[in-house]
Symmetry: C2
Subunit: 244 residues, 2 copies
DNA sequence: CAGTGGTCTAGACCACATG
DNA sequence: ATGTGGTCTAGACCACTGT
C-alpha cells in the first residue's frame, strides 16, 4: 500500500522501517542477552514480522542468514530454534602469495627452482585418482618478500587437464598465478598441518633442518578432473588468521 | 544445500520456472565454459530475468550469492562482472575437540593438568587489552582419543567476563565445552601456525622436544569483552581440512 | 492434517557510482 | 543525469514434518 521508506541504523530520531540487517541485529542481541536462550523456540516468522512491523520476507532473509551463520536451526513446521551449541565457522580467505607478501608492504618476486615433466608417480596418481602414465609437471618455487625467502612451493600439475602448462614460462609468472588466470574456476580442498623442514626446504628457506614449518596443501579440480596439487611451506613466523 | 522445491534440471521436456539455484548453476556454467570470461560484464539483472523468464528478485538472489562466494563482483551502475581472479575462500568449521575425536570412532576423554588463578600476566593483558590486576584462570588440559594423547590445550579465561568459571569443575567438563554452553555467542579470532614442541607439551603428547606441532589459537570476545584465549597443540599427524 | 519455513512474483523506491 | 544493483512489500503457493 504505502511505498516503503527505509533507513536503518543511524540518522537522527526514528528509523521508519526495519531492514533485514536490523532484524538480524535484534535477534542476535536477544540471543546474546538471554531473552532467547540456547535451545529455545523463536516466534514464527509471521509473528516476528508483525512485531517488527515489516514484511515476512525481510524476517525470512534475516533468519536464513543467521541460520547459515550457524546461530539458528530451522525446520519446517518445527520452527526456528537457537542452536544449543552454535556452529563455529570461520571464513578463510586464501590469498595469492603475491598478495600476501605485498600486503605486508614488501616487494614480491619468485624464483623457479626446478621444473620436471614426467609420468605421475604412484603416490600422486593415487592422491589425484589419475589413470596410469599421465604426464605431470613438477615445479618447485621459492617466493620472496624483499629478497628474503617467504615460502617454498612444491607443485604438481596434471597436463591432461591443462596442456598449456607445458609451454608456460613459470620463471616469468608463478604457477599459481598462471593457473588462476588460465583455469579460474576450480573446486579445491585445502589442508593445513605442521611438518619438520627437510634439508631441501630448510636450505631454501634459510632455517635449520627439522624446523617446524607451516604447510598449506591444496588440491584443485575442474569439473571433477584433477588439475593440481600444491604444498606451500612457510617458516615459523607465519600465521594463518581469521576473524568471525 | 538441499534440493528446493522448484523443478527444473533434468525432468523431461519443459522446466516450468527457474529457481535461484537454477540461475546460479546456469551462470556458473556460463562462466566455466567461457561464455562469460573473467573480467567480462554480465547482462543487467533485468535482462537476465527476461531471458530466464523469472522475476528480477530471483536473479538478484542468485547473483548476490555468487558474489558472496567470490565469483562475481557487483557495483551499482557499473554492473556485474566475472572476477578476474576469483576469491578463493574456504569455510572452516571449528569443531569441539570431543567431536573431532569421536568422529574418528575413538573414545574421548580429557584430563585437567593444571589450574591456576592469578592476575593476568602482562603479555596476556596486552593481548586481550585487559585493565591491570584482572584475575584470570589459567588451565592446561590434555585431550585423549582412546587413551592416546590427542591434543594439548593451554587456556586463559577472563574471570571478569565469566565469573562463574571460578567455580566450574573443569575436571568434569572441558573448558571449551563449558564455555560453549555457558557463553555461547562470542566473536572469535582464529590463527593457525606451526611451532616446535617445548618440553612440557612434548612430554604430555609423547613426542620428542622440538617436534613440529600444529597450533590452533583462538581469542573470543562477548560483546567486545575478551573472554578467553586458548592455544591447542596437535601432534604431527594432525591435519585441518576444508573443501570448497 | 495443519503449521512452519522456503521460494517466487510483480512492483516500487532508493543509494550509489559512472559518464 | 541515468542506469544498475540493493532492498522492501504484499501476496501467493509449495514442501516438509510433527501431531
Amino acid at each position: 500500500m504505502i511505498p516503503p521508506r527505509n533507513i536503518s541504523a543511524s540518522k537522527g530520531p526514528g528509523p521508519e522501517t526495519l531492514g533485514f540487517r536490523d532484524v538480524k541485529r535484534i535477534v542476535l542481541d536477544r540471543v546474546q542477552d538471554g531473552t532467547w536462550p540456547p535451545g529455545s523456540l523463536l516466534p514464527a516468522e509471521t509473528d516476528l514480522a508483525r512485531d517488527f512491523a515489516c514484511a515476512r520476507t525481510t524476517v525470512n532473509r534475516a533468519m536464513q542468514e543467521l541460520a547459515a551463520e550457524g546461530l539458528l536451526e530451522r525446520r519446517r513446521k518445527a520452527g526456528t530454534r537457537v542452536r544449543a551449541a552454535p556452529i563455529r565457522q570461520a571464513r578463510l580467505t586464501i590469498p595469492l602469495i603475491r598478495n600476501e607478501v605485498e600486503a605486508t608492504g614488501a616487494a614480491y618476486r619468485h624464483a623457479l627452482i626446478d621444473r620436471d615433466r614426467a609420468p605421475a608417480p604412484d603416490w600422486l596418481r593415487a592422491r589425484l585418482a589419475l589413470p596410469p602414465d599421465r604426464p605431470v609437471l613438477h615445479l618447485r618455487c621459492l617466493h620472496f618478500a624483499d629478497n628474503a625467502p617467504f615460502a617454498f612451493e612444491d607443485r604438481w600439475i596434471n597436463l591432461a587437464a591443462v596442456p598449456d602448462a607445458d609451454a608456460a614460462d613459470f620463471a616469468a609468472i608463478g604457477p599459481n598465478e598462471w593457473l588462476v588466470r588460465e583455469v579460474p574456476l576450480t573446486n579445491a580442498e585445502f589442508s593445513f598441518r605442521a611438518v619438520a623442514a627437510d634439508p631441501t626446504a630448510a636450505g631454501l628457506l634459510g632455517v635449520p633442518t627439522g624446523t617446524a614449518l607451516f604447510c598449506a596443501e591444496r588440491v584443485t579440480w575442474l569439473k571433477g578432473i584433477p588439475v593440481t596439487l600444491a604444498a606451500v611451506f612457510y617458516p615459523p613466523s607465519y600465521r594463518l588468521t581469521t576473524r568471525v
